[in-house]
């Protein structure tokens, strides 16, 4: 084995050691992540609604991406994300009617119901407040429907 061969062998060996070390490190990190996403009490559920999510009409031509529940002390917040290929005004018009038919009272309407990019409406039912965000994503020509239930407002709060 001449000097050139031994150098090549050294390089190959070093690369192998580096690859194995990287693999072991990555596996260890994946098994015991040091950082969690969001708050400690936040759980992300994909493709289904998280337990306790308030009942709302679901846009028929949409699919649920995920939902989650955030608990911060005594307050609870629910968020659900749906995707559809329909336009923002189509989705907004549908929700405006369906929410009313389901007993919700529309509180805020978008300033421009023909806006193709972002629309936002707020509806109330009993103690619940629904913030409905309808946003056209730049990717994949999809519209994102985000239903958020912020923690309840205590009117006595200073």
């Amino acid at each position: 084995m001449d000097k050139r061969d031994s150098n090549l062998l050294l390089v190959l060996l070093s690369s192998a050691v580096l690859l194995i070390s990287t693999f072991i490190f990555t596996s260890a990190v994946q098994k015991e992540p040091k950082i969690r996403f969001g708050k400690a009490s936040e759980n992300v559920v994909t493709k289904e609604l998280v337990s306790g999510f308030p009942l709302i009409p679901e846009y028929p031509a949409s699919y649920l991406e995920n939902s989650y529940k955030q608990e911060d002390g005594t307050s609870v917040r629910y968020v659900g994300n749906w995707l559809t290929s329909d336009s923002v005004p189509q989705v907004e018009m549908w929700y405006k009617e369906e929410l009313v038919d389901s007993g919700w009272v529309i509180d805020n309407l978008p300033a421009d119901e023909n806006d193709e990019q972002i629309q936002y409406l707020v509806a109330k039912k009993a103690e619940l407040t629904l913030q409905l965000s309808i946003i056209r994503g730049k990717a994949q020509n999809l519209t994102q429907i985000i239903a958020e239930f912020p923690p309840q407002i205590n009117e006595d709060e200073s």
Binding site: E65, N66, Y120, L121, I135, G137, A139
Partner: protein
């Protein structure tokens, strides 16, 4: 010799006229281009209408172009309550302050529907009245923006603390600030009810990560103005206050036009007039070019308690051209999930949508380990705001 003298007099006259015209043109153009702006920031009256009335007359004497009011006009929404607020904001003597005031709702105003609110506040008309331009709305009279001189103002309907800001409001804010930057403006002043960084009695709900990411992305953001906490105070927001902050800005809490005074918490403010004076108050902001000066006033005292001047040198945004459609290119910036050449709110939303997915080839799986997890999230957040 006599002829020479006569020509000399004519020449002098002509020269004097020419210089006068030059001076006139110079000063006229200076006035047009260097519009100075004074506005008032206040909020949170609830049942303290006599305080609001007195503050109104004090502020009116300072001759502001307009005022921004960060919510909690009333204790609980009713016609008599809002009528009492209207009388008070007009100083009890129809001083006209209501006509130049841009309010947003607070949690105590939540009983007002959009229609109720619009019966009392037509923000587009107020904008026209005070000479503002580029008025825009997400929801009628509730979440809106406008320009005045070199400054952009954004009022957002957040009924309570900052965690109540919706996804649509954050995405709209991002688009709205991008548009303001493309118009070549220098400052953006944002206002809503709950502080981004609480410093008194509502301590300490964390601001949504998406909101901080949007603020980081826009150097035009100079300061924010909130209420909810019944103090008149200031905090410089940087990464020591909120770790995710990369674009520093100033936060003013002006929430004591009658509802306080309360107490700022030790270690959470840079200046708290309320702790020093135990008095109600408000601030004025004078904008001149890249600088703005904030004066803290306590009720009943005509000279300011504190004056602070901030300059944006080095942070002034450059005017960006209108984006033109470009062909899809391979992702160059880690986190640019929609491959449009930047890492923005849409990429963030895509990641959140796909968070937890374990399918290989997922668009949000940045590190390619067949899982959309915290490591992908961290990569996206690190690159938020970058463009290719």
């Amino acid at each position: 010799m006599a002829i020479k003298d006569r020509w000399s007099s004519k020449s002098k006259l002509l020269l004097f006229g020419f210089i006068s015209i030059i001076f006139y043109l110079f000063f006229t153009s200076s006035t047009i281009h260097a519009q100075t702006l004074r506005f008032v920031s206040w909020g949170d009256t609830k049942s303290g209408t006599s305080t609001l009335s007195a503050e109104s007359n004090q502020a009116k004497a300072l001759n502001p172009k307009f005022t921004i009011y960060a919510g909690d006009l009333v204790s609980s929404w009713s016609i008599p309550a809002i009528e009492a607020w209207v009388v008070a904001v007009n100083g009890g003597n129809n001083n006209g302050m209501r006509d130049i005031t841009f309010p947003v709702r607070g949690n105590h105003d939540s009983g007002a529907s959009q229609a109720d609110w619009s019966n009392y506040f037509n923000q587009a008309q107020t904008a026209a009245r005070v000479g503002a331009t580029n008025y825009s709305e997400l929801t009628k009279d509730l979440t809106y923006s406008f320009d005045w001189g070199n400054s952009h103002f954004v009022g957002i309907d957040v009924i309570g603390d900052v965690t109540r800001m919706s996804s649509a409001q954050i995405a709209w804010l991002d688009n709205d600030l991008t548009a303001a930057e493309s118009r070549g403006l220098t400052h953006a002043f944002l206002y809503w009810h709950g502080p981004i960084y609480a410093l008194a009695e509502h301590c300490c709900p964390a601001a949504p990560s998406a909101l901080i990411s949007v603020l980081n992305k826009h150097p035009i953001v100079s300061a924010t103005f909130q209420g909810h906490e019944h103090v008149t105070a200031y905090t410089h927001i940087n990464s020591s206050r909120i770790p995710a902050v990369t674009h520093e800005f100033e936060e003013f809490v002006t929430g004591d036009a009658g509802a306080g005074p309360d107490t700022c918490q030790s270690g959470r403010f840079d200046y708290c007039m309320t702790n020093e004076t135990r008095a109600h108050g408000f601030v004025t902001v004078d904008v001149s070019g890249a600088a703005f000066t904030v004066n803290f006033y306590k009720l009943g005292t005509t000279s300011p308690q504190k004056t602070m001047t901030f300059s944006k040198s080095g942070l002034t945004p450059t005017k960006t051209p209108t984006p033109t459609p470009k062909p899809t290119i391979p992702t160059k910036i880690p986190g640019d999930l929609d491959k449009d050449g930047d890492v923005d709110i849409f990429d963030y939303n895509l990641l959140i949508e796909n968070f937890g997915s374990t399918s290989c080839g997922n668009v949000a799986d940045i590190d390619g380990n067949c899982k959309v997890d915290i490591f992908d999230y961290n990569t996206l957040v690190e690159n938020f705001g970058k463009t290719g």
